[in-house]
């Protein structure tokens, strides 16, 4: 595991990371309630318990960098800086959604932030990011492409094919596995016999594993990983983390034993970073204020989304292809 650096901690930075995690947490909690009240159509996969991966990795990215994420991508896009209003409008199926309400949770994208989209196809984000890295290399943008993927996605051949091409072409590609131990309703160990470390090393790529619920360790590992991807080529970062909610909202998780569920609290990345900030002398009141502020921002975004009109069908139908002069 990447070393936790206790010397000269940058409190401001840690506070900022904590703040991002709070925003993700507040958003996911709000989505959970909205879904229960059927204010969210379709189905949603929450990243509660995985906030540190999103915050830590996105903090290490620069403006030219691009990322492709998964069906569980809310944390990544929010941590990348997506505007909460257009995020909630999208998930609630409103006209003002970043994607016009056309695709919802599973396809949120924000090209202005280099977010190439969440994805409904497990594993597809890996070759998508591979291609983005090809573009960074060919166009000399200096950018890095990041692919977030889950442990269940490791079984898809896309990982193998992409690891190979990434290695072959020494692409500026960062592969981030969010290993939460679960693939839908099955523990991933019942589905995958390999190891990401073994695969990466077979292709001659650097692999690091980090406690993905330790924001400092994750942020530090991500900085190293992004720098390496930018200057030396592909890097595989495996973040051990925890899925707190069901595979999707509405999943009662009967298949998980109470012991595992009870253990989640102790692993909570936000409780941990909050305690850490406390140790470093940040006042409880201030920490409470940060949390309340995040919730207020989210509440405001939800209100804005509720007030937003529904998408117009004809406008959507007219936008399947690029009208010349518009793209």
């Amino acid at each position: 595991m990447a070393a936790r650096r206790d010397t000269n901690v940058d409190i401001g930075k840690l506070r900022a990371l904590h703040d991002v995690m709070l925003r993700v947490r507040a958003s996911e909690n709000a989505l959970s309630r909205l879904f229960a009240d059927s204010e969210i159509p379709g189905f949603i996969h929450l990243s509660l318990g995985q906030e540190a991966v999103a915050a830590g990795v996105c903090a290490a990215l620069g403006p030219r960098d691009t990322l492709a994420t998964t069906h569980r991508g809310h944390g990544h896009v929010i941590a990348r800086g997506m505007d909460l209003d257009s995020f909630f409008k999208e998930l609630m199926g409103r006209a003002g959604g970043k994607c016009g309400g056309r695709s919802g949770s599973m396809h949120v994208a924000d090209m202005s932030l280099g977010i190439l989209g969440a994805n409904g196809i497990v594993g597809a984000g890996i070759p998508l990011a591979l291609g983005s890295a090809i573009a960074h290399q060919t166009r000399g943008t200096g950018g890095v492409a990041v692919a977030f993927f889950g442990d269940g996605a490791m079984a898809e051949g896309a990982l193998h094919e992409s690891l190979n091409m990434a290695a072959l072409w020494e692409l500026p590609l960062l592969l981030v596995c969010e290993n939460n131990g679960w693939s839908e309703f099955s523990p991933t160990e019942r589905q995958f016999k390999g190891t990401l470390k073994g695969l990466a090393e077979t292709f001659g790529l650097v692999h690091r594993v980090v406690d993905g619920n330790d924001i400092e360790a994750t942020a530090a590992a991500a900085e190293e990983a992004v720098a390496h991807a930018r200057d030396k080529g592909p890097f595989v970062l495996e973040c051990m983390t925890t899925r707190v909610r069901g595979h999707f909202e509405g999943d009662a998780q009967k298949y998980r034993d109470t012991e595992e569920m009870q253990g989640l609290g102790a692993k909570d990345p936000i409780a941990r970073s909050r305690a850490r900030l406390g140790d470093l002398g940040v006042a409880e009141a201030e920490l409470d204020d940060m949390a309340t502020a995040a919730e207020r921002q989210v509440a405001a975004a939800v209100e804005a989304a509720r007030a937003d009109p529904l998408p117009d069908f004809d406008a959507a139908l007219a936008d399947v292809y690029t009208r010349r002069g518009t793209a």
Binding site: P41, G104, I121, E184, F185, L310
Partner: protein
């Protein structure tokens, strides 16, 4: 008559097939321990064990191709691809291996496998979880394609697909899973390729399949109120499809509308309309109407998806046009 939900009928058909033939196996993602994302395989692991009811990793390509190898070695595999949209990863096994093996090998072997593909929208699942791609498979020699619209057919066509010596693509509309209807204890075996006249009529023939059958029956009801008697044909099988029943009906009604949830252009309805236009040319008093989703990806927002999926109103309107 005992009632059942559509999904339970599929579950019962799978169980009965597993019971009847030790060579039948079921494979897919989360289909064993979890009983399937839509619960089509609930309880099968407990009854038939982990070798015949296999939870697979997320590896659609290899799962579908493995089913072909298994079928060539004596098994009758039933593969579940969780959403038809993911079949984009499984096309090679189905199209280049399963469909062609019998022909390619000079008839030395058949490939008795079934691929279950839940399709369709109505649950705001968005562009990558709502597609109806059955036209792809109907265009591939060597494949059969069936699509049950009723609870009884959910059972009968699943059994028929498994019993068939050739590869069958079994298309199930997710919106029908909760449908309840009659399921006799003894379901009469279905013959793949046989359509069913779901409602008799004299003025116009409405040809459809899957979930759209219910919209067509609703439309027929409305039209009846307007004095229009619509005959509704449930194709049940898309490849092969029951030309004889369709043409005989059109010969009586002189008008036809083909309706389905899939995108209209280059969809199943194109072939049906083309054949009616060709072989039923002299019978037709009006152009064959076609109803299908507009040429756009399946949208997510309620306000968009509502208008995307063809409903009874759209079907009734198309019928009225044939009567103008």
């Amino acid at each position: 008559m005992p009632q059942s939900r559509y999904i339970r009928a599929i579950n019962k058909a799978l169980a009965d097939a597993l019971e009847a033939d030790p060579d039948v196996i079921v494979m897919g993602e989360d289909i064993a321990e979890a009983g399937g994302s839509f619960k089509a395989t609930r309880g099968l692991l407990e009854r038939f064990g982990p070798q015949r009811v296999r939870d697979t990793p997320i590896s659609e390509y290899s799962i579908s191709t493995a089913a072909v190898g298994a079928a060539l070695t004596g098994l009758k595999p039933v593969v579940e691809i969780m959403f038809m949209d993911f079949v984009t990863l499984a096309m090679d096994g189905i199209v280049n291996q399963a469909a062609k093996s019998r022909f390619m090998f000079g008839g030395q072997a058949s490939v008795p496998m079934v691929v279950r593909l839940p399709h369709g929208g109505g649950v705001n699942a968005g562009p990558q979880h709502s597609q109806c791609l059955e036209a792809w498979f109907a265009h591939v020699p060597g494949l059969k394609v069936v699509c049950p619209a009723t609870v009884e057919d959910a059972y009968a066509l699943t059994r028929a697909a498994i019993d068939d010596p050739d590869p069958v693509v079994l298309v199930e509309n997710k919106a029908l899973y909760a449908l309840s209807g009659e399921l006799p204890d003894e379901v009469a075996p279905a013959r793949i390729g046989e359509a069913r006249i779901a409602r008799d009529g004299a003025d116009v023939t409405v040809i459809t399949y899957g979930a759209t059958l219910h919209a067509c029956l609703k439309a027929a009801e409305t039209l009846a109120g307007e004095g229009v008697s619509a005959e509704v044909i449930d194709l049940r099988s898309l490849q092969p499809w029951d030309k004889a029943t369709v043409l005989a009906s059109v010969a009586r009604t002189h008008r036809a509308v083909v309706a389905h949830e899939a995108v209209r252009d280059f969809g199943i309805g194109a072939e049906i309309a083309a054949v009616i236009g060709e072989e039923g040319f002299d019978d037709l008093d009006a152009p064959v109407g076609r109803v299908g989703a507009p040429f756009m990806p399946a949208p997510f927002a309620r306000s968009l998806e509502e208008r995307y999926i063809p409903d009874a109103g759209a079907i009734a309107a198309a019928v009225r046009r044939t009567l103008e």
